[in-house]
């Protein structure tokens, strides 16, 4: 029962978060200077007629005061209507729906690469000789600090341009997924692995580890079965960072690797002040955060029953 109430409370808070996110985005895009109607009608090369301009302004309420535009948007939103993309002339849900699969696949592949890599490296390098830790830590810092597009470009130059192992971008098949996923994965691994190793090293100092060892357990099982469970909680707290890295990174990675996806859609929508799509994506991202945080909360209790969060 308590768990149910917790979920309900969290969902209610999450609803507030979504409303806030939508409102702030609406305001921000509204405040960006530039005539949206002109932008919709093709920018600098266009010769729209006065009737066409008037139609666009009327269709999208661009000739109305802010409060009318916002009120209308919110009203539609409450009915589940995210509106229509100015640029694609499609319902927002459809515009996002077309792209979400590709980004989900990319994110899943990145996580599938990043997590095993992180755990393997952190578990194997914690409390080792200082030269090993220096080298590993150095590599992690490089990956964590290098902008994603540089990692991506380096991978492209080595594996696509030079070795021709992978296609140069595109969405075609799982092979095309490898380099973009690796690019995102390396950025996540860099930060996550540092955190996990530090935690592991703390835990490995604990008396219960000594106890386990004195029972005759080998080193690796001690690290995995005893230390990891304790070290994992702070890493899970980092999942917000992971989600951010995946969403933000997808903008760059999808552009660099000419991939379809939410990132590429975000970029195009922001360039074109495509307000309904921008808000749609913000809402989607906020919803992902809310859900991920809720799930993590519940997982804490599973991993360590002593933890009770509000």
């Amino acid at each position: 029962m308590a768990v149910l109430r917790r979920i309900l409370t969290r969902l209610l808070v999450g609803f507030g978060v979504l409303w806030g996110a939508a409102s702030l985005t609406f305001l921000a895009v509204y405040l960006i200077p530039g005539d949206t109607a002109l932008l919709i009608l093709g920018g600098p090369d266009a010769r729209p007629t006065a009737e066409t301009l008037a139609q666009v302004r009327a269709d999208y309420l661009l000739d109305q005061p802010f409060i009318v535009q916002y009120g209308s948007y919110l009203g539609n939103l409450l009915q589940g209507d995210l509106g229509q993309s100015y640029r694609l002339r499609l319902p927002v849900t459809e515009a996002i729906g077309q792209q979400i699969g590709a980004t989900a696949a990319l994110s899943a592949a990145a996580v599938a690469l990043a997590l095993p890599l992180t755990f393997a490296v952190a578990i194997l390098s914690a409390q080792r000789a200082s030269w090993i830790r220096s080298i590993v830590s150095g590599i992690e810092v490089v990956f964590a600090a290098t902008p994603t597009f540089i990692i991506g470009f380096a991978l492209l130059i080595v594996f696509s341009f030079t070795l021709h192992w992978f296609p140069i971008g595109g969405n075609q098949g799982p092979v095309a997924l490898v380099l973009p996923a690796l690019t995102l994965a390396l950025a996540i691994f860099g930060t996550l692995s540092q955190v996990l190793r530090n935690e592991l090293e703390d835990v490995l100092e604990q008396p219960f580890i000594l106890t386990a060892r004195s029972r005759g357990m080998r080193d690796l099982p001690v690290r995995i079965r005893h230390a990891l469970r304790h070290a994992a909680i702070p890493v899970m707290t980092m999942s917000g960072f992971v989600v951010a890295a995946l969403l933000g990174g997808s903008v760059i990675v999808e552009t660099l690797f000419s991939r379809q996806g939410i990132g590429a859609l975000t970029l195009a929508s922001v360039y074109n002040k495509d307000l309904p799509v921008i808000i749609g994506i913000v809402l989607l991202s906020a919803a992902v955060y809310v859900v991920v945080n809720l799930v993590i909360d519940l997982l804490y209790t599973l991993i360590d029953p002593k933890v009770v969060t509000a």
Binding site: P33, G34, L41, A46, T49, L88, L156, I168, S258, A264
Partner: protein
């Protein structure tokens, strides 16, 4: 013009592209012929019997977000439109109006009534027929505000209404004589949509355009790719394509690859057969590769021009405009900017355009001494402590807004350096697209750099006639040229039939522009694409110099 700026050899089919051999292009051609004895020329002989089948993989630099030509103004539509659509008329290999979906047409004495006699037996890919009613529906669809047309509607602005005479005869009534009408109808943005789709589901045309063209859209994933399949039973290609029946290719797979370096690498690695846009920095590498054909073709219309705003100081002063034009070494700027692939130009009309008058050349020349003298005489003789010219204590400043990017426009940076030599303070203002667009239509700038492509010399009207100044409606006269003499010439030219009268008016207009100096012409607006030599018989349109794949085929 020296040899290094000359485009590489092309095969014989594409020589047809060059029609109005002006003095300059004839020289270029001679140089080209003499220089193409190298490995490149071998590609032109690698022709055999066309092979049917295969999918052509194409990379493009940008994707319009909507595939209905009537609803967009994107450059890529020039290429994409040719796959799905046919037009009422076309421009043949000589750039003259030729039959397409209309077999013939009559124009009334007063130039205001066009009677189209349409081709029979043509069908759209949804099975609906092509007829007079559908032509009327298309013209209405273009100008329907709900279509949100940024371009097509303006092209047919003089169209008042139409009358279906019989199933295959359509009469279009214009408000005033408008010779560019047929040229506009030949452009990719004005391709013919299915009348059934326009009537029943116009909102679906962006995502799933339905034309009569050689290919149909099988799958469109915005922001990613467009898959085209061969249209079964296609049999109405224009004569200049020199082919019959269906396309040879089974399909065309168009993928968005926005990074130029990736477009180049993925072309040479064989991932794509053709790229619609090859960046100038990669031209030399592809040209040197015997397995690829590189095309560098100028677009008709307005070349790349730095337009001056005649409406406000300092460019309201002719002397300042002349001085700026004389200050800039356009050949040097163009050479470094286009890695030798750009063709410098000193006129306001592309050399490939009909009625281009070569006698305008050599007037707007690089002459820093003259620039300095003009500025001195115009009162900009004092200098401030940074070396910029001043007049009454005010610095000679030119504000040039441009779209925001990670690196400032290389062109503007170069112009900044050139202009500084004679004492101009050229300031590059980087803005997001939305703001830039607004500022542009508000006229809040001193100069703007840009091109404007169309397939008719009427581009001079669009760019420099006073009625095209943004006011009631959006116009492309961003120089705010308002010159009654020029207005008269441009109006006469667009109202005259093709022939000596139009030629004379256009020639005078080109000379008048040299006196007005509404901007600084820089270089021809090029269409630069490349493809693997396994791809054969890639035709080039004369409306837009883009690849036409109707009868292209892939060798094994």
């Amino acid at each position: 013009m020296n040899e290094s700026v000359i485009p590489p050899a092309r095969n014989s089919r594409q020589f047809r592209y060059f029609r109005n051999f002006t003095a300059v292009s004839a020289v270029a051609l001679a140089a080209l012929l003499s220089s193409c004895a190298g490995p490149v020329s071998s590609t032109s002989e690698a022709t055999g019997e066309p092979v049917s089948g295969g999918i052509l993989d194409v990379s493009i630099s940008a994707e319009p977000g909507c595939l209905d030509g009537h609803g967009i103004s994107a450059t890529q539509q020039q290429f994409l439109g040719r796959l799905v659509y046919d037009n009422v008329v076309t421009l043949d290999e000589n750039g003259d109006i030729a039959p397409y979906l209309a077999e013939s047409w009559d124009i009334s004495e007063d130039g205001k009534t066009y009677t189209f006699h349409l081709k029979q037996g043509v069908t759209f890919s949804d099975g609906s027929p092509w007829n007079a009613e559908v032509l009327g529906q298309n013209l209405e669809h273009m100008r329907d505000p709900a279509t949100k047309s940024p371009l097509a509607a303006a092209y047919i602005a003089p169209y008042v209404d139409g009358k279906v005479i019989d199933e295959f005869t359509f009469e279009a009534h214009l408000d005033y004589p408008y010779t560019p009408f047929l040229y506009a109808l030949a452009q990719s943005w004005l391709g013919m949509n299915s009348g059934k789709a326009i009537a029943e589901s116009p909102e679906t045309l962006c995502q799933k355009p339905i034309g009569t063209g050689p290919f149909t859209v099988a799958d469109y994933r915005p922001g990613q790719s467009i898959s085209y399949s061969k249209r079964e039973g296609y049999d109405w290609a224009p004569e200049w394509l020199e082919g019959d029946g269906e396309a040879y290719l089974d399909g065309v797979e168009v993928t968005l690859v926005s990074e130029p370096v990736i477009r180049h690498q993925s072309l040479v690695s064989g991932q794509y057969d053709l790229t619609e846009n090859l960046a100038p920095q990669n031209a030399a590498a592809v040209q040197a590769d015997p397995d690829f054909t590189y095309e560098n073709l100028p677009r008709i219309g307005s070349p790349y021009v730095l337009s001056f705003n005649l409406n406000r100081a300092p460019f309201d002063d002719l002397a300042v405009r002349q001085a700026f034009a004389a200050a800039v070494d356009t050949e040097a700027v163009t050479e470094s900017l286009g890695f030798g692939t750009y063709t410098p130009i000193d006129s306001f009309l592309s050399r490939e355009s009909k009625y281009y008058d070569p006698t305008v050349e050599g007037v707007l020349t690089h002459d820093p001494e003259r620039a300095n003298k003009l500025l001195d005489d115009a009162g900009w003789s004092a200098r401030d402590n940074e070396g910029f010219r001043t007049k009454d204590g005010k610095r000679l400043t030119i504000e040039v807004p441009t779209v925001e990017s990670s690196t400032p426009s290389p062109l503007l940076v170069q112009l900044q350096g050139e202009a500084r030599k004679v004492g101009f303070d050229l300031r590059i203002i980087q803005l997001p697209q939305a703001q830039l667009t607004e500022l542009r239509y508000a006229g809040d700038f001193d100069a703007l750099a840009g091109v404007w492509h169309t397939n008719t010399t009427d581009v001079l009207f669009i760019r420099y006639h006073s009625s095209e100044i943004t006011g009631e409606r959006i116009g492309q006269n961003s120089s705010y040229v308002n010159d009654p003499a020029l207005d008269d010439l441009l109006l006469t030219a667009r109202e005259s039939d093709d022939g000596p009268e139009a030629e004379e008016a256009y020639s005078k207009a080109q000379h008048r522009l040299l006196e007005i100096v509404p901007g600084l012409p820089l270089y021809e607006n090029p269409s630069q694409f490349a493809y693997a030599n396994t791809v054969q018989d890639v035709d080039v349109d004369t409306s837009h110099p883009v690849p036409v794949l109707t009868y292209a085929w892939k060798a094994e």
